[in-house]
Homo-oligomer: 392 residues x 2
């Protein structure tokens, strides 16, 4: 739909935008303008004159518009891990008489790790209860303080029923916290209608804001004024430049700001968000389903050794398709060497993301053609493809 | 010394590098290369092929070399506020039987705010005891778990005796945590000889890494393997790409990493650190003292209405000079309008930073000439200079 707005290397089919979105062409000049025209020329004056100081709120509102959040309910900053921690700490403080954080084994590990760290830090008798993805609803009872889930499973692409689980969590008096890392920019979500207390997400996947782009956090407006930010940094203070010795939280979600925001990364995010102006998330979702269905159909027809690891029903699947294959790591290396970039997740998952902003049916057909050659001719079976490296 | 390596706007004398350092010229191409050549061309492969993943450790080591830290004892990431929280949480866990965090009223507010938030989160019977800067030594006793101080007072430039206080803290069994925000890149410090358990700092002041540049944290090598990172994110895991359901901390200071690092900001930091290659921190300090002494001498001679708010003894002063003046806010606006950029801190402090990498005696004389005109002719006494804006 918007392929011409992205820098896409010649000869590459990029099916890994679910891990790191490609470079929006306009980001290059936006970053340069921020670097030279603002940092270089304005120096410290950039905080006011170039609006750096307000950017976390401005960008938060723009992201909010993509996820059904009201004005002034989303703010940008830090990393997703940090925002998970803040949301969870706030949620636990809302239910001081309950001891369970309910999550699932399909959650992204950092969400679980941050919860572990928070439990240790709080020293309260808390339990992180991690159940199978399909068992979450059955484990929602009145011991649960916070239901902390990621909407779309990073390995399989399986999608939770976000409305049903939020409703069920609220029915038992639990706080609902959603990680929208694989949701924002991939499909419609209406946080206002959903009623979940907290949501967090990252901007470097489907939102295309670049490596290490800042995260976002949503707090439901009616509770924001009572929420405790836990990480109470000076830019979450109601009046940071009063240099007040005591912390007084800012209004609403602004209190979730912590330290000095990353101005260069925010410039990239701003350019990335420009692309979303006027894009319908319903259209994106429809196109993503179409591309994913085509991909599954073609791969299953032409690569019989691959087993679908994602739900077959598109209504239960995010914007990615995963296949399992015992030598999946090597197979993915062989694909990447031939210009089809997906990624691998332990133990045997080959992941492919479909971002209709810059992927079309021709890309899918081209990718499958290369996959068929690699798989059927066992092109992956070479020592150089077997050696494991860190991959994000 | 290295003025030609910086982008300095025509007609400006920049005495606010203690708040935000100027743009290193080489950062422009470094950022562009990272944006287009790495993000654009390598896409997800940049994490390995361009070394993004290792950058927090690589840059940490380069900063470590400027503050006397051993290899693999400093890591880059997040904001200073977050790193203060991690260090303090770790320090408190090292002294579970003690209840006092000792700090001073000259500490930067976010350090105190983060401590407040941590105390609330921990729920232990902890106290943040904030005393006058000169009273810290007298309050060090065996109730103190962590002495948490900023080396150089952000308002007055007054410098703590870092060696004496660390020694005294250790003598009473307290953990020593230093914020080096106004130290790194301004003067020599030898963390190895000092023996403090933790140090944190930012890179956007004297290190010139740009607005929102990441922070750093140092953990003394002999304790690093036992330290609890509190914010236990996936990139602090010993094996992030194993996607282990349970958190197992990485070796040494690497466990203080949290989430995905800001790749574009790290590119700027890398270019900024290149300038420090071969620079002696002793020479920087000597030049800073010379410039500061000249500034004080000239301002006192020519602007009698300004009162020195910094220690007169250079050995007790950081790399900034502060004067108090009842209409300091307006006076600073008038100076900025005439190309002399310092900043203002409530209630009446006019701050001027001296960074010898790009400031010389001619700059100081030019700045004082403009100050004398502004002050003696009451050029600040205009409504447009009185209206307060947020300033960092």
């Amino acid at each position: 739909m918007k392929k011409h707005l992205f820098h896409l290397p010649e000869g590459i089919v990029y099916l890994d935008g679910n891990s790191l979105g490609p470079l929006p062409r306009a980001a290059v000049s936006e970053i340069e303008q921020t670097t030279v025209g603002e940092w270089g020329e304005l120096l410290i004056r950039g905080w006011n004159a170039a609006g750096w100081f307000q950017q976390p709120a401005v960008l938060g509102n723009r992201i909010g518009a993509l996820i059904g959040a009201a004005e002034n309910s989303v703010v940008v900053g830090d990393t997703l891990s940090i925002k998970v921690y803040q949301a969870l700490a706030a949620g636990l403080n809302m239910r001081p008489d309950r001891r369970v954080i309910l999550s699932d084994s399909g959650n992204f590990p950092t969400d679980l790790y941050m919860a572990e760290g928070l439990i240790k830090t709080m020293g309260r008798d808390l339990e992180l209860r991690v159940v199978a993805p399909d068992a979450v609803a059955d484990h929602l009872d009145d011991s649960v303080a916070v239901m902390m889930l990621t909407h779309v499973n990073y390995r399989t692409g399986q999608m939770h029923d976000i409305e049903a689980l939020t409703k069920r969590a609220h029915a038992v008096g639990a706080v609902a916290q959603w990680d929208l890392a694989h949701t924002a920019g991939a499909m419609p979500v209406d946080l206002t209608a959903l009623g979940a207390e907290f949501a967090v997400g990252c901007t470097y996947k489907y939102l295309n804001a670049g490596p290490g782009a800042p995260a976002f956090i949503y707090v439901r407006p009616d509770i924001a004024a009572d929420v405790d930010p836990a990480l109470s940094g000076w830019l979450g203070h109601v009046e940071p430049f009063a240099f007040d010795p005591a912390y007084r939280p800012a209004a609403a979600v602004q209190r979730m700001r912590v330290g000095t925001p990353p101005v260069l990364q925010m410039a990239a995010l701003s350019a990335a968000l420009d692309i979303w102006d006027g894009v319908s998330m319903q259209d994106i979702r429809a196109a993503s389903v179409e591309l994913s269905e085509l991909f599954i159909h073609e791969v299953e027809a032409r690569c019989p050794m691959l087993t679908l690891a994602s739900p077959r029903d598109p209504a239960r699947r995010g914007s990615q398709v995963s296949f399992s294959f015992s030598d999946g790591y090597a197979a993915m290396q062989a694909l990447i060497a031939r210009g089809v970039i997906g990624d691998f997740r332990e133990p045997d998952i080959m992941r492919f993301g479909f971002a209709p902003l810059y992927i079309d049916r021709d890309d899918v057909m081209k990718a499958v053609g290369i996959m068929a050659a690699v798989m059927n001719d066992r092109l992956w079976d070479r020592p150089e493809y077997m050696a494991r490296k860190a991959v994000t």
